[in-house]
């Protein structure tokens, strides 16, 4: 198949980058005239096709190829720009294309009629260009450039509705917090450059060479590793730098689905996978801890949310935490795997949510109602109105919750199991990590279940309106088709025919990294069971609690006792887990809002105040000193004039006195 078009993967991946760029430029030139988005669409289709047939299929599982061109020389060192195509990059690029394509199609319907649509397509193409460039960069500096460009694109897209105050606040926040990370990244680059004199990934992490450039057990390596991780933390919204992602939901939902769920936020993970050889134990441990913390906290926050997109945002954060853990435990293959699967189902989730919100918004508009179309409490029982959406969403959620037959199942297992192996290899408190991860995945199942039930089951608050002729119908095909496509992608077959064993998925086989610790076969049995069980349990609870929020069973049932028990169990569960966890989540969320985010705001406020103080200092002390000096000189000038009082004899007296004094001084001394 790699004879396709007879172009080398290098050229192909360059083309993949260039098409969106081309689209961007054309649309920038056209300006308001390009509202259809066809150009962007064509661009991304071309990229997708080429990246699949030109880069991925030929590049996959073959030796990594790279090509570099001299960029500029500074001092003795020459920097190159280049393209690196190996499994990792090819996969990442493909994922981006495959996700971006449906989102583009979806957007055509979703964004139709928006006044600023031409900017939308422009920004979207820009983002695709940057993201695709990021994936195949050879040079760390080059990577950094694209890294910031995606941030810039996301800034533009979050603030797409720039007249909305919250939106512009959000995009400012997003960019600034990402800037913190970027500085970390930059410092990392600087350190690497200072010690190795080059930034080419190929030369830096050259496995073949006998003497690796980097001795990772040096303090600077630790420092650099942490710096890189800081960068990843900001991009991938790791605690405590995650605060920007929930706010970023101010952007159009399609944007959230592409950028803030599937691709850009995953760039952090991708970066860590790229520079993985740099990390030593210390750094990795830090990554694991932060990852776990993020996964847990975000999952808890998600429990209590009422805003659909917020829930999904937090779930994204938590899933990113999973990936981080994957990297941290050294199984970055698993992390990449989860990244891929997550891209599909999370994107799908957002698209479905988008469809729902779209309809709700329409209803709101038509019926002149005043409610937040994203608020769960206003939505319900939609499965009758939009069954297909419902179907897609269910698949996506199942995948997220990690039910068998879904891709999520495989990837999540891969991480959790490896984590367990890692923990049991190290022993001691490390076991806490996999345990926490399992709890998190159960929580995940629960909150996503809650979302599904609340949205699609129960009774719809605004039925009455629909009775009165208001149409409330399925999403249009332009939106459905991408969703269906992604839904297909969220199932296991895409990744390999083995239902249970993630080791047999082609991604894992290709990217396989041999870990220091042994594989525990029994783990492959009970952990999936545990996860699945937990997931099912979570859904049951959710079902019982949100759909039939009363005891389901009648008296004269043969299963009374059991049912009662179950009821008790339910109540028990209800009291202990559900209520408890929801309360907890509320509290924690409040904590997050007011303390973590509050800290961010506090910090910005502090900087503001500091700046005011500094300015005061500048104006009154430094400049004041300058003026004081001037005035002092001026005043001395004034004093000197006292001699000139116009009295002749005073003059003479003055002059002669000084002479006499001089004489006296000279004689006496």
């Amino acid at each position: 198949m790699n004879t396709f078009l007879h172009i080398s993967p290098i050229t192909a991946s360059i083309l993949v980058m260039l098409f969106p760029l081309l689209a961007f430029i054309i649309q920038a030139v056209l300006g308001k005239k390009s509202i259809s988005g066809n150009i962007a669409l064509i661009g991304i289709i071309a990229s997708a096709v080429i990246s699949l047939f030109g880069v991925f299929l030929p590049g996959w599982n073959s030796t990594s190829v790279l090509q570099k061109w001299e960029w500029f020389t500074i001092g003795e060192h020459t920097l190159y720009v280049g393209i690196l195509v190996n499994n990792l990059t090819a996969l990442m690029q493909l994922v981006v294309c495959i996700i971006a394509l449906p989102v583009h199609i979806y957007s055509r319907a979703y964004m139709k009629g928006d006044s600023g649509i031409h900017r939308y397509w422009m920004y979207l193409s820009l983002f695709c260009f940057a993201m695709l460039g990021l994936t195949v960069s050879l040079n760390l500096l080059q990577l950094y450039i694209f890294w910031e460009l995606v941030g810039f694109a996301s800034y533009l897209l979050i603030g797409f509705w720039f007249t909305k105050e919250t939106a512009v606040q959000a995009n400012k926040k997003a960019f600034l917090i990402n800037r913190i990370g970027d500085i970390g990244f930059l410092i990392g680059i600087a350190l690497v450059y200072a010690h190795c004199g080059t930034l080419d990934l190929s030369t830096l992490f050259d496995q073949t060479s006998s003497t690796p450039l980097i001795d990772k057990n040096t303090p600077w390596a630790t420092f650099a590793g942490l710096a890189f991780f800081l960068g990843a933390m900001a991009k991938s919204a790791q605690f405590p730098l995650h605060v920007w992602l929930p706010d970023a939901m101010e952007g159009p939902t399609s944007v959230s689905s592409l950028i803030h769920a599937a691709t850009m936020v995953a760039a952090g993970v991708f970066l860590l996978c790229t520079v993985f050889p740099l990390f030593n134990e210390t750094v990795l441990l830090v990554i694991v801890l932060i990852g776990t913390l993020t996964a847990l906290s975000a999952a808890l926050f998600a429990l209590g949310q009422y805003d659909i997109k917020k829930i999904l945002a937090f779930s994204t954060i938590s899933q990113l935490g999973f990936m981080m853990v994957g990297v941290g435990i050294g199984a970055w293959d698993a992390a990449m795997f989860h990244l891929t699967t997550h891209a599909f189902f999370k994107c799908l989730l957002f698209l479905c949510a988008g469809a729902v919100i779209h309809e709700m918004a329409h209803l709101k508009a038509k019926a002149q109602l005043e409610f937040d179309p994203q608020d769960l409490r206003h939505i319900g029982g939609l499965r009758r109105f939009m069954p297909k959406t419902f179907g897609c969403m269910v698949i996506a959620s199942l995948s997220l919750a990690g039910f068998p037959f879904t891709s999520g199942y495989l990837s999540k297992d891969s991480i959790v199991i490896t984590a367990y192996e890692w923990a049991s290899h190290l022993g001691g408190v490390y076991v806490l990590i996999p345990v926490l991860l399992i709890i998190v995945s159960i929580l995940t199942a629960f909150y996503i279940g809650r979302l599904i039930f609340k949205v699609f089951f129960g009774s719809f608050k605004y039925r009455s309106y629909i009775k009165t002729g208001m149409t409330f119908h399925e999403a249009p095909n332009a939106m459905l088709i991408p969703m269906l496509f992604l839904a297909a992608g969220s199932l296991f077959p895409l990744f390999g025919l083995s239902l249970t064993n993630y080791h047999h998925t082609w991604i894992m086989q290709a990217l396989d990294v041999d870990t220091v610790y042994p594989t525990l076969t029994q783990a492959h049995l009970f952990i999936p069971a545990l996860l699945t069980g937990g997931a099912i349990l979570g859904w049951l609870l959710g079902w019982n609690w949100y759909v039939k929020n009363k005891y389901p069973l009648s008296e004269n049932n043969s299963f009374v006792h059991f049912a009662n028990k179950q009821g008790y169990l339910n109540e028990f569960n209800d009291r202990i887990f559900v209520k408890g966890s929801i309360k907890l989540s509320r509290i924690l969320y409040a904590f997050d809002r007011h303390v973590v985010d509050g800290l961010t705001n506090l910090f910005s406020w502090f900087v503001r105040q500091l700046s005011v103080v500094v300015y005061w200092f500048d104006k009154h002390v430094i400049d004041g000193l300058v003026n004081l000096f001037a005035h002092a000189t001026y005043y001395i000038g004034h004093l000197v004039r006292h001699v000139q009082n116009g009295q002749l004899q005073a003059y003479l007296g003055f002059a002669l006195t000084i002479v006499v004094l001089g004489i006296l001084y000279l004689i006496i001394k």
Binding site: I74, L176, I183, L186, I187, V614
Partner: protein, 532 residues
């Protein structure tokens, strides 16, 4: 009359032309000025094109290009020997980018002063004199010549600010003048000292030739600034250290560094738009150029000895300027302080004494050159429309003047160091160089580099804040309806001026080799000179 001399003295011709033309022809002045600056720009491009990047320059004359040497002043002062002053000009990798930059910024400046109606004759005449002085500074290799141009530069500026400036123009003008003169008179003393310490190896006479001053062999033993066997001390401080400090002080005022920067906000805010463009675009660079060409090249030993402090000053300027910018309510003042912050990077890079840092600093100077010019021009656009710069008086301009907003956004992001634009390369390599300094053991610790990188964050903060505060959100203006009409979008002329600058920022951001290519040899040479 070599091409370089033509480049320098062309504007003088323009001045004479303008002065001789009767006031009835005042409409033509700006076209004359524009024409001559265009010619200059062409010449500078010619220089750029015919520049041999392999030659280092710095302290060896044969490695300079477009050199012209005429004996200018020969005076027999009897007991104290012959006064030997040459008209010696030349270009090396350090000065070439700045020359090209200056011509470009001058072009922008002339374009920006298109609708100056108050006494255009004097205005353009002074502008052209300034132009000459600037070109002279960047190409003079004889210290006397350098000093002459350096001082001549001040006079036109005083009047440009003082006559065409804002309300507090008198204060700003004299403040600027006094500040700079204070630096330069002390510099004059050091020049005299150097004159007596250095002899021209060929003629054996004392000389003002900078290149001779850079060569330790030419120093007279026991002279005041002698390299070796120098016992001269003033109040216990070695003479050479004093000399370096004084020269640094003189140029640091121009850069400007904290705490010698307070003339800058006043001068920028009070100056008319074209003048602030030139101030920020060219004159600040004179400081950086002076530090490299004079302080570091003539006192390399001291440079290596003091760079810790210089770097510290640089970091302080970065953070201090950024914080000040964050606190501003006047847009122009904000940008002025941002210049302080960005020029801090230059100092940090220079002080790092690494090839990366120095090149980064040079690049930062170039990029800051036209970026700050563009920024000031943008402020000027707003000020022309409604004569107000107060950030809080504007809201949601984006929906009112989309083109303008687009340009502002690009300019802001370019200067807050968004990759793909030139400022990023400059700042990134300053940081990288500062990090590298420890590996090169030039004595600049890493925490300074980190401090610098925090400056990048802050710059993002104030630019984004301004962007959000002024341009986004619902349109609300202090001036109400009147402003609504006044605030028309950019016209063709303004776009013609803005577009090249921003395009150049992008171009250099993508192909830094355009600058680095010509820089490298000289930078390496300088590093060699400083590291014996």
């Amino acid at each position: 009359m070599g091409v370089l001399s033509i480049l320098i003295f062309l504007p003088l011709v323009a001045t004479l032309l303008i002065l001789t033309l009767p006031s009835s022809a005042k409409a033509t002045y700006k076209y004359i000025a524009l024409g001559f600056t265009f010619l200059q720009f062409g010449l500078s491009l010619y220089l750029y094109g015919n520049f041999d990047a392999t030659l280092g320059g710095i302290q060896q004359l044969d490695a300079y290009q477009f050199v012209e040497q005429l004996s200018w002043i020969r005076m027999d002062l009897g007991a104290i020997g012959k006064l030997e002053i040459d008209y010696l000009i030349g270009v090396d990798g350090i000065s070439l980018p700045l020359i090209v930059l200056s011509t470009l910024v001058m072009l922008m400046g002339v374009g920006a002063s298109w609708n100056i109606d108050k006494n255009p004759k004097g205005y353009f005449a002074l502008l052209m004199i300034l132009n000459t002085a600037v070109m002279g500074i960047f190409s003079a290799l004889d210290f006397f010549l350098f000093y002459v141009f350096y001082e001549v530069m001040l006079l036109p500026l005083y009047f440009l600010i003082g006559i065409w400036g804002g309300e507090r123009r008198e204060y700003a003008a004299i403040k600027f003048f006094i500040y700079t003169l204070l630096g330069s008179v002390l510099m004059l003393l050091v020049i005299v000292g150097l004159y007596f310490s250095v002899i021209n190896p060929v003629t054996g006479a004392h000389t003002f030739n900078m290149l001779h001053m850079m060569n330790p062999a030419n120093y007279v033993d026991g002279s005041f600034f002698a390299y070796i066997t120098n016992y001269h001390e003033v109040f216990g401080i070695p003479a050479r250290l004093i000399g370096f400090i004084v020269l640094f002080f003189a140029f640091a005022i121009k850069v400007p560094i904290v705490p010698l920067h307070t003339w800058l906000p006043d001068a920028h805010v009070e100056a008319p738009t074209p003048v602030s463009i030139i101030l920020a675009g060219i004159l600040l660079k004179v400081g950086g150029y002076g530090i490299i060409r004079v302080c570091y090249s003539i006192f390399p030993d001291i440079a290596a000895y003091t760079n810790w402090w210089l770097a510290l000053i640089g970091v302080i300027s970065i953070l201090y300027g950024a914080l000040n910018a964050l606190a501003q309510k006047d847009l122009k003042r904000m940008i002025a302080y941002s210049s302080v912050s960005h020029m801090g990077f230059v100092l940090l890079g220079i002080a790092s004494l690494t090839a990366e840092g120095l090149s980064g600093a040079m690049f930062q100077m170039v990029s800051h050159g036209f970026l700050s010019a563009a920024l000031f021009f943008l402020v000027g656009v707003l000020y022309d429309r409604v004569h107000d710069r107060y950030i809080y008086n504007f809201r949601g301009l984006a929906s009112l003047m989309p083109k303008y907003t687009a340009y502002v956004a690009i300019a802001f992001f370019a200067s807050l160091g968004l990759p793909g634009f030139s400022a990023f390369i400059g700042e990134a390599f300053v940081i990288i160089g500062a990090f590298n300094a420890e590996s090169m053991s030039t004595g600049v610790p890493r925490w300074m580099a980190i401090g610098g990188s925090i400056g990048i964050l802050l710059s993002a903060a104030y630019f984004l804040w301004t962007l959000q505060r002024m341009f986004f959100g619902q349109t609300r203006l202090k001036g109400g309806q009147a402003w609504q009409e006044a605030l028309t979008d950019l016209n063709i002329r303004e776009q013609v001026i803005l577009f090249p600058a921003l395009a150049l920022a992008l171009l250099l951001g993508i192909m830094p080799s355009l600058v680095f290519g010509n820089l490298n040899a000289s930078v390496l040479q300088l590093i060699e000179l400083i590291k014996p």
